[in-house]
């Protein structure tokens, strides 16, 4: 498999997660204290490295067929979850993920919490906020890197994609010193959902024993087909939402 689609998919997926982690870290650092915030973020990164070191090699020792079956199922399920949320947001059924309001929520909560010194950490609230934010968003990054990297037998490519995303988002965050509100998160999530579902379906079916027509080239058909289905779903949901939002009798009035 060509490394470019792998690197790009992992890059976009990890950029979305990094933007969300950055919002939490900025809220903790600006409102509370930077030292404890960095400590929390650093401990979370160490925990993520331990998880990756423990799970990554174990997964790569599985036979390729079993790996593709299990990981393909997980990726397809995970991808469908992303597509579902992205479609509901794009159609107006669910509020768009707004980094500005997420930041404001975290800042308000951070301002109200008292300062507590614990286990050598100056501000325990800032530490735990940064730790949880980086760990939870980072787990998704680890999941994507391990599943994509192992299945494509190119962990290095997946790591490059993830590391590049984290560096780009971190540099942008330092430059702006504010949450990255201009990032079109929902559309990025939608694109990642399409890739996760397509790759998951491809690998899962291979793991179940099928031979795809054209082998890897089947992905060149599968990805656009899933994207088209998503576009059709969004149009359908928008029409449904508009019909549901229109006051009763409006259509009859217009018809007259």
């Amino acid at each position: 498999m060509n490394a470019l689609p792998l690197i790009l998919t992992v890059f976009v997926a990890c950029a979305v997660e990094a933007v969300e982690a950055l919002t939490i870290v900025l809220a903790a650092g600006i409102t509370r204290e930077w030292r404890s915030t960095f400590q929390g973020g650093a401990v979370a990164l160490v925990a993520l490295a331990v998880i990756t070191a423990a799970v990554g090699p174990a997964v790569s020792h599985l036979p390729l067929t079993a790996l593709r079956l299990v990981v393909g199922a997980l990726l397809a399920i995970f991808g469908l979850q992303w597509l579902r949320k992205a479609a509901l947001r794009a159609a107006g059924y669910k509020a768009l993920h707004d980094e500005a309001s997420a930041y404001l929520r975290e800042v308000t909560a951070a301002q109200q919490a008292g300062v507590q010194r614990r286990r050598g950490v100056g501000d325990w609230y800032a530490f735990t906020l940064a730790f949880k934010g980086v760990l939870l968003e980072g787990l998704e990054v680890v999941f994507i890197v391990i599943t994509f990297g192992d299945n494509a037998r190119n962990i290095g490519g997946a790591v490059i994609g993830a590391a590049a995303a984290i560096v780009v988002v971190a540099v942008a965050g330092v430059a702006v010193r504010a949450p990255l509100t201009k990032v079109p998160e929902n559309w990025m999530k939608l694109a990642v959902g399409v890739m996760l579902t397509s790759f998951g379906t491809f690998w899962g079916a291979e793991g179940a024993g099928v031979t795809w027509p054209g082998n890897d080239a089947a992905l060149l058909v599968l990805v656009p087909v899933i994207a088209l289905v998503m576009a059709a779903c969004i149009l359908w949901l928008r029409a449904r939402h508009a019909a549901g939002a229109a006051p009763a009798g409006t259509s009859e009035v217009i018809a007259r």
Partner: protein
């Protein structure tokens, strides 16, 4: 025990998310693909994509019906 339950809840939410039926359809799709391929001798590459799309449409329909 409470700790174990919250870890389970976290992983359930992380992988399965809001609609377990979509996840179930993917698993059914994989089982169907394996049966068709290994038992019936049919190269059923189409089965999983069809069921994945059906799972998405069904899940979106359920989430938005009557809203």
């Amino acid at each position: 025990m409470k700790w174990l339950r919250s870890i389970g809840a976290f992983w359930y939410d992380f992988v399965i998310g809001d609609d377990w039926r979509a996840a179930a359809l993917v698993v059914i799709g994989l089982a169907l693909t394996a049966i068709l391929t290994h038992v019936a001798g049919v190269n059923a590459w189409w089965a999983l994509p069809v069921l994945a799309v059906a799972a998405l449409v069904w899940s979106l329909h359920r989430a938005t019906a009557g809203k």
